[in-house]
Each structure stands twice: as structure tokens, then as C-alpha cells.
């Protein structure tokens, strides 16, 4: 049986991991290579690198560092941030990314998913959706959650999947940063709407939150988190052991 995946997400700016990482035993905690290897050794099933650089120089640094990560870390790598054109797909895939995650770029140009899927296959294109409840309706936000698009989230995600997105990352703005657990209600809706892998993001605060996620939604494929892994609040090896003890199949 396929295992449930645990995915740490690293924000990278100008080639360095930002959002203060707190590991006593690592010398260079802002090196994507050091951190990538560390997570891979701890049992992370996949890594997401999110490029939050705004300048073109920073973008060049990002691709250089991605290449270095890909030379040293042998688990799947997903890259997001700043993906607006098919040339951006080319740029990161050439440097060793396995999947490309699109968000605002697909909202601006819904054809981007189709183009990426046609050229590189569905498995390569991940739609990442930032979702927030507005007047009780799940609504898609763009630009890192700053801009309300007015689009209903479930139908947007369905449309992206029919355009060729092979995986969906659902980031709940309502639960993000609150550390009270994943947005089960939203994730359940997405899981019953699409038949491609769904990755939960936003809200994990402790091991129990992952157990609840996989127990409540048996069809969900993965849980993604950032700060709780970076700050060592949840250790991936402990998390996996506890998932196993709870009958959830992990690697």
C-alpha cells in the first residue's frame, strides 16, 4: 500500500532558507543543502522549496542552490514560488526539481497548468491553492494570501485538475499559523472533489494533528508543514513512529 507522506516546506530567499531555523546540531541552518539532507536523513518523504525572492539575481541564486540540493538529496523535490511561465518550469526542472508548484501564476494564466502538463506530464504539475472562508464560502486567494480572487475554491481546484494538475496542495489561510490542527472540513471537501493526490497544509502544531488528519480523511495523501519542523517542535522521525503506532502506514 502506498504510504502517507510527510513533507517539510522550506522558504528560500536569495539562496538561503529563511524563517529562522532552530537546530542546535546543524552548523549552517540556513543552507538549503544542509537542511535538505537533514530532513531527508530524518525520513522526510519529499521536500518543497518555496522561492520567496523578488529580484532576478535572487532567482538565479535560487536555481544554483536548487542544483546543489538535487546533487545531494535523493528524494522528490518540489519547487514553488515565482512560477509564471513555461520558461519558469524549464528553469527549475533543469536544475533538478521533480515537480513544479503553481499558485498565483495559474490564477493569472489558467493555461499555464495545461502547458506544463502537456510538456512535462500531469505528475509534474502541482496546483497550490491558498483558501480562506469568506462569508462562509471557501474562496481562493492570490499573492501569498493577500488578494481575494473571489473564486470559489473547490470549483477552482477541480478546474486545475481537469487542466492537468497531477497533485493539489491545499493551504488553509484560516488555520495557517494557528497550530490548532489542519482544516479538516476544507480538506474533506477537496478530497471528495478530485481524484489526484491531495496534500494538506496549514495548521499543524503537534504530532496529534497529523494523526487526526490521516484518521479523519483516509484518502488524503500527505501532510505539509514548515515551522514546527524547523523549530524542532515536531521531529519527523518521532512523528513517523507515532503515526505507525496509530496504524497509519508510513515509510
Amino acid at each position: 500500500m502506498i504510504t502517507k507522506r510527510i513533507i517539510p516546506c522550506l522558504d528560500v530567499k536569495d539562496g538561503r532558507v529563511v524563517k529562522g531555523v532552530n537546530f542546535g546540531n546543524l552548523n549552517d541552518v540556513s543552507s538549503p543543502v544542509t537542511l535538505g539532507k537533514y530532513y531527508s536523513d530524518c525520513g522526510a518523504d519529499e521536500l518543497v522549496f518555496y522561492d520567496i525572492t523578488a529580484s532576478s539575481d535572487g532567482r538565479k541564486l535560487f536555481t544554483d542552490i536548487l542544483r546543489e540540493v538535487a546533487e545531494n538529496v535523493f528524494i522528490p523535490l518540489t519547487v514553488g514560488g515565482g512560477i509564471n511561465t513555461i520558461e519558469d518550469f524549464d528553469r527549475v526542472l533543469k536544475c533538478g526539481a521533480d515537480k513544479v508548484s503553481v499558485n498565483s501564476g495559474a490564477i493569472k494564466n489558467p493555461d499555464l497548468i495545461k502547458q506544463g502538463a502537456l510538456k512535462y506530464g500531469d505528475q509534474c504539475v502541482v496546483i497550490s491553492a491558498d483558501v480562506k472562508r469568506v462569508d462562509g464560502k471557501f474562496t481562493v486567494f492570490a499573492k501569498g494570501g493577500r488578494e481575494n480572487t473571489g473564486m470559489e475554491a473547490i470549483s477552482w481546484i477541480k478546474r486545475c485538475v481537469s487542466n492537468g494538475a497531477g497533485e493539489v496542495v491545499v493551504n488553509s489561510i484560516d488555520t495557517d499559523g494557528v497550530k490548532k490542527g489542519f482544516d479538516i472540513e476544507l480538506l474533506k471537501e477537496v478530497c471528495s472533489a478530485v481524484n489526484v493526490p491531495v496534500i494538506a497544509s496549514g495548521g499543524a502544531g503537534c504530532v496529534q494533528d497529523f494523526i487526526t488528519l490521516f484518521k479523519e480523511i483516509p484518502t488524503i495523501d500527505a501532510g505539509l508543514a514548515a515551522s514546527i519542523f524547523h523549530f524542532g517542535e515536531v521531529k519527523i522521525s518521532d512523528l513517523k513512529n507515532q503515526l505507525k503506532e496509530n496504524g497509519i502506514i508510513v515509510r
Binding site: 504510504t3 535523493f74 521533480d98 506530464g121 497533485e167 493526490p197 484518502t219
Partner: protein
Amino acid sequence: MIAIIDYGVGNLFSLQSSFKAVGYQTVVTGDKEIIAKADKLILPGVGAFPDASEKLFSSGLADVVKEQVALGKPLLGVCLGMQLLFSESHEYGVSPGLGLIDGKVVFIDIPKEYKIPHIGWNALQFKKQSPLLKYVKEGDCVYFVHSYHAVDCENSLVATAEYSKDLTAIVQKGNVFGCQFHPEKSGQVGLNILKAFCEIGGEL
């Protein structure tokens, strides 16, 4: 020296890096002379079968690979490269493979509640001995991404992965090997499989 055959399909960077990680140099090449001089061959591939098959045959590299295999050189097909070892694939119509292993490649036909592609880490179940399994334990997980898989290849079946039914994961027929999953993305288990392939000597 190990030659990774470049016929214009896919990103060979990760594959090359992972061989380097287990201590073996590779050359990415479409040059027939270099391929002829190599000790071992890797047939990579991502994307759709018809396009890859067309490129492999029209470049003349299909014949080169078959000649080298006939001389006893070990060949490892990875992902789509593994599917190309079979006689034919039914992805977007029927197109020919190299015919080095009996069997055909068909859509993974499983109940609707199972997601396709089969994406993620899945455990290997052993069916028979193979030098590729030298450093692998039954139940070790490897990373899959595919919508088609090989069938009617019982005689060559080395390992499977369970996903509603048994999917073909590793095959071997003499000096021809194939992995449906991505060893270069399967962490230490994947590296161990590549290492085992690199260590295969003249015993085949």
C-alpha cells in the same frame, strides 16, 4: 564506465548525481561509440511512451542498445526506460518497445477509488532473487510515479508493489534489468539498488 543513454527524453541530472553518490562515474551520451565502450548501460525516460519509443528508434539507439545487450552488457531501464524494455505499450495506441523482455505495458486498471497516477512511496514485495536486491530488504519503500505498468511478464518478475493489485516494480531477464520506480528519488534504498547494479560483474 557507465553510460546513461541520452535520446532526448527527460532530465538526467538526478540520475547522474545519484550514481556519483554511490561512487560511480557516468557519462550522459547518445554517441554509439561511447555506448559501445561502456561497461554498463542505463536507459532513462520520463513522459509518454510513444514519443520516447519514436525517439529511441529514429535515433538508431534502439539498435545500438539491442546489440550491446546481445553482447552480454548489463542494461538498467528506469521508469519509462523500464517500460521500453518490453515488446509494446498501449499508452495512446500501440507502439513498439525494444522487446528485450516479454510482456506489454498497459494502463493500471484498478477500482476508481484508487488514484492514478500511482504517486508516492510503496513497499517492495519480492518475487524472485536478483542481484539488484543485494542491499534491499523486502518491505523497503521506493518512490513511484506512473499510470501504466508492465503485465504478462511473470517469468521476469523480481518485485512488485501492492496498489489494489500487484504492480510490476522490478524485472530482470539475464543481463537486462528494469525498475518502474525512480531509484534516484528513493533515498538510501534507491541508491542501494543503483550500487548493486554497478557491482554486477561477469556472472550473468
